[in-house]
């Protein structure tokens, strides 16, 4: 029994197994890439659906982990700095692969539209989180060449009620709610402006009124919506509040809090009217009016134990990138001293 366990362990720890498995993964991926267009997607689907692939992947992870531990046991005593650098790199890589696997195998997610006063429900446990506030974090005005302040050029904040109190969620990093393994990671996936429209008939009767969520941010993009039950559709685009010219460079300043839209009314592919939104647009006896603007956000909610591993793996890779130059410098310094000793003797 002990002998067979030893045999299995030595097989799992062998470098030959690593070589064969790397060759097998490469062959599988290349086969998918050569014979189908989306190899990576196909690879993920295989890994998610096939028990055999999962088993082989776990053996591969076990193999490289055992080999890393064996390497560190020897090398940390002999070349500690270089071993640490290699350990951080390979360890980080293993954690990313583990996180990738956990994510592919177990991830559950939802992408609800967040509106103040509503609630988002996690589909895996049916738990509801009330949305207390959606703060668009829009500045009074942005320049179209603006680089923004954070990771994103315009980052909204959504405040959610949890068991531990109110939590503010931005676009990045994601926030964990309800425990790292069983809980949910949340962040704002998309956000945008929602102009409040009012369409009136010739007699002044209001035919439609409400908010329309459009993707107009960052400024410059255009989006459209159709008026159900009518042949009309409307193309919206933010209109600059002013244009700054300096030499050959031109910048447009957009008022995001009180935006002005350039609206094109389309009927059957033909343009009926194109006007700015600061006054009613009249077409075919109807009038379109913009009475205000609010914001919208889509949350990305995921239950994914892989996130923590991938983040830890990336951090280890970054740390490895810091330690490696130190280790290399140390090796060079040792070599130089060694040679100097030889020449002097």
């Amino acid at each position: 029994m002990k002998a067979s366990v030893g045999k299995i362990f030595s097989l799992v720890a062998s470098d030959r197994l690593t070589v064969w498995l790397v060759a097998a993964w490469t062959l599988l991926y290349v086969t998918l890439a050569v014979w189908s267009a989306e190899a990576f997607t196909a690879f993920i689907h295989l890994l998610a659906a096939s028990f055999v692939f999962k088993a082989v992947y776990i053996v591969f992870l076990a193999n490289i982990t055992v080999r890393l531990i064996a390497y560190l046991r020897v090398s940390l005593r002999v070349r500690p700095l270089m071993a640490a650098a290699n350990g951080l790199f390979v360890g980080g890589f293993i954690l990313i692969l583990l996180g990738f696997f956990l994510s592919v195998a177990t991830k559950q997610m939802a992408q609800p539209l967040a509106g103040e006063g509503s609630a988002v429900v996690t589909p895996w446990d049916g738990k509801a989180y009330g949305i207390e506030r959606v703060a668009p974090s829009l500045r009074d005005s942005v320049l179209d060449i603006d680089d923004g302040d954070g990771l994103f050029s315009l980052e909204p904040k959504v405040t959610i009620a949890t068991d531990d109190g109110a939590v503010e969620i931005g676009a990045f990093p994601p926030v964990n709610v309800g425990g790292y393994l069983g809980g949910a990671w949340m962040h704002v996936l998309q956000c945008g402006l929602a102009p409040v429209i009012r369409v009136s008939g010739a007699d002044g009767n209001v035919m439609r009124e409400g908010r329309v969520a459009l993707r107009l941010l960052p400024p410059g993009g255009s989006d459209r919506f159709s008026l159900d039950g009518t042949p009309y559709s409307f193309v919206f685009k933010l209109s600059p509040s002013r244009v700054i010219k300096k030499g050959n460079t031109e910048g447009r300043v957009y008022d995001i809090v009180r935006p002005v839209y350039e609206i094109t009314v389309v009927k059957g592919g033909e343009e009926l009217a194109r006007e700015l939104s600061n006054r009613p647009i009249v077409f075919d006896g109807l009038a379109l009016e913009i009475t205000g603007t609010s914001s919208w956000a889509i949350l990305d909610i995921a239950r994914d134990p892989g996130i923590a591993f991938v983040v830890a793996g990336l951090a280890m890779l970054a740390a490895g990138g810091v330690v490696l130059p130190l280790a290399v410098a140390r090796v060079f310094s040792m070599l130089t001293r060694h040679r100097a000793g030889e020449y002097n003797s």
Partner: protein, 442 residues
């Protein structure tokens, strides 16, 4: 008639070198590789009789790329796992047949296309056959030199596999002069892989989709998506097996020659072993040099060298744009991307992109996506690449909406032309993000 002659000569060069390499690897069974090559030569013309629906040209082209990878993996395995060759040498006897079949079949199909274009099949095939026979005769004349045991000292199993792989890499494109190297295809594959991995890691750690990302963040991500990074990765992947090989040979433990009685005999023995190792390693060093040279010459496509044809102006006729499938200046089914521009009375210009997928169907899209400013797309092998954000998109997926894919356009494809409603083009073009490039985001 240069092109058919060239196709014949190229096929004979590949066949001669493959036969010579396999002969050295299989040592004593000298005639078997020749017989295997002859079998491939006899079978290959049957590719001409395959039904058009099989799209044999495309399959053969993919087979060439696939063979290269298989040989490279086999070479790496033979280097890493066994210095004396765990693979059966007998397999080398049959390798030429498998190796040469796609080349010969691809050449036959290419010649048929050339014959169709020139309208003279007899002269095209005769010229090519003459080139093949002339080069083969030259090989037979000098076979004693090429197949001599001295030359064979450079060829073990790993060297042979590497040699065949490198030859496939450099000469692998099935067809004539246009199909030389598969390095650009390798680079496109690497670029796509890197793009997908980075994108997937981002999606795991819940970084939102890119419209809101800051310019500096995109510049950082763009480094991984760009051609420079994939160039470096491709070069690294290509030289890894030969470097492994050279390292294994040159850095093998030194022999002590303890079976010899005198020190002089031991020194002689050690010198002999070292010379033999250097000879073995020489092939690997040559491969590294050749691969790097080819990579410098043929790899490293920058966005400016991507195929990006100037759009041909089209006009609307009663609300419809009509594009002929074939005219003297273009063939929409030739696998290249074709661009067309439609100018409107208001001064706006909308661009269309048309190309054939590998199954022969036509993809009709806008030369723009919903996310990026409308810089359009360039072509690199079997992928179109967004000229703004460098996202590679396989040609076969064109027509699917979303992300950085070109926006698909509904079109009626008849036997003679493509008909697209102007209203459809105008409608779809409105979705294009008209952000000015000066904004600088990626």
């Amino acid at each position: 008639m240069i092109e058919p002659l060239f196709v014949g000569v190229k096929a004979a060069v590949i066949a001669s070198m493959a036969v010579a390499a396999c002969h050295h690897a299989s040592k004593k069974n000298g005639n078997m590789p020749v017989i295997a090559a002859a079998i491939a030569l006899l079978i290959a013309p049957f590719a001409l009789y395959l039904p058009e629906s099989l799209n044999a040209g495309n399959v053969i082209s993919r087979l060439s790329a696939y063979e290269f990878i298989l040989l490279y993996i086999a070479a790496a395995l033979s280097i890493r796992l066994s210095s004396d060759g765990r693979f059966s040498r007998a397999a080398m006897l049959f390798l030429p047949a498998v190796y040469l079949l796609p080349d010969f079949a691809g050449s036959a199909l290419h010649l048929r296309e050339t014959a169709l274009m020139r309208g003279n099949a007899v002269s095209v095939f005769a010229t090519s056959t003459a080139g093949f026979i002339a080069l083969s005769a030259l090989f037979i004349r000098f076979r004693r030199n090429v197949l001599s045991p001295d030359f064979g000292a450079f060829f073990g199993l790993p060297q042979t596999l590497l040699f065949l792989a490198v030859m496939r890499l450099l000469l692998g494109g099935a067809g004539g002069g246009s199909g030389w190297s598969i390095i650009p295809a390798m680079q496109a594959l690497t670029m796509k892989f890197v793009h997908d991995v980075v994108h997937h890691v981002f999606s795991i750690i819940l970084v939102p989709d890119h419209p809101l990302l800051r310019v500096t963040v995109w510049n950082f991500i763009g480094f991984f998506f760009g051609p420079n990074f994939s160039m470096m990765v491709t070069a690294g992947l290509l030289v890894t097996p030969p470097v492994m090989f050279v390292k294994r040979i040159l850095f093998a433990p030194d022999v002590d020659g303890h079976v010899f009685e005198t020190a002089a005999e031991r020194r002689l023995y050690r010198a002999d072993v070292r010379l033999s190792r250097r000879k073995e390693a020489a092939a690997g060093i040559v491969f590294i040099a050749v691969i790097l040279a080819a990579w410098f010459i043929q790899g490293g496509e920058s966005p400016t060298t991507r195929y990006n044809p100037a759009p041909k102006p089209v006009v609307e006729d009663k609300g419809v744009v009509v594009i002929p499938l074939k005219d003297p200046t273009m063939n929409l089914k030739d696998g290249a991307i074709h661009k067309f521009s439609l100018a409107r009375d208001d001064g706006s210009v909308m661009r269309l992109l048309v190309t054939a997928r590998s199954d022969g169907s036509l993809a009709v899209c806008l030369d723009a996506c919903e996310i990026c400013p409308p810089d359009g797309y360039g072509q690199s092998g079997k992928t179109v690449i967004c000229l703004f954000c460098d996202t590679p998109i396989p040609t076969d997926t064109l027509g699917k909406a979303g992300g950085c894919n070109p926006i698909p356009v509904r079109a009626e494809v008849t036997a003679a032309d493509i008909r697209i409603s102007v209203a459809e083009i105008v409608d779809k073009w409105r979705r294009v993000n008209m952000r000015a490039n000066a904004e600088g985001g990626r």
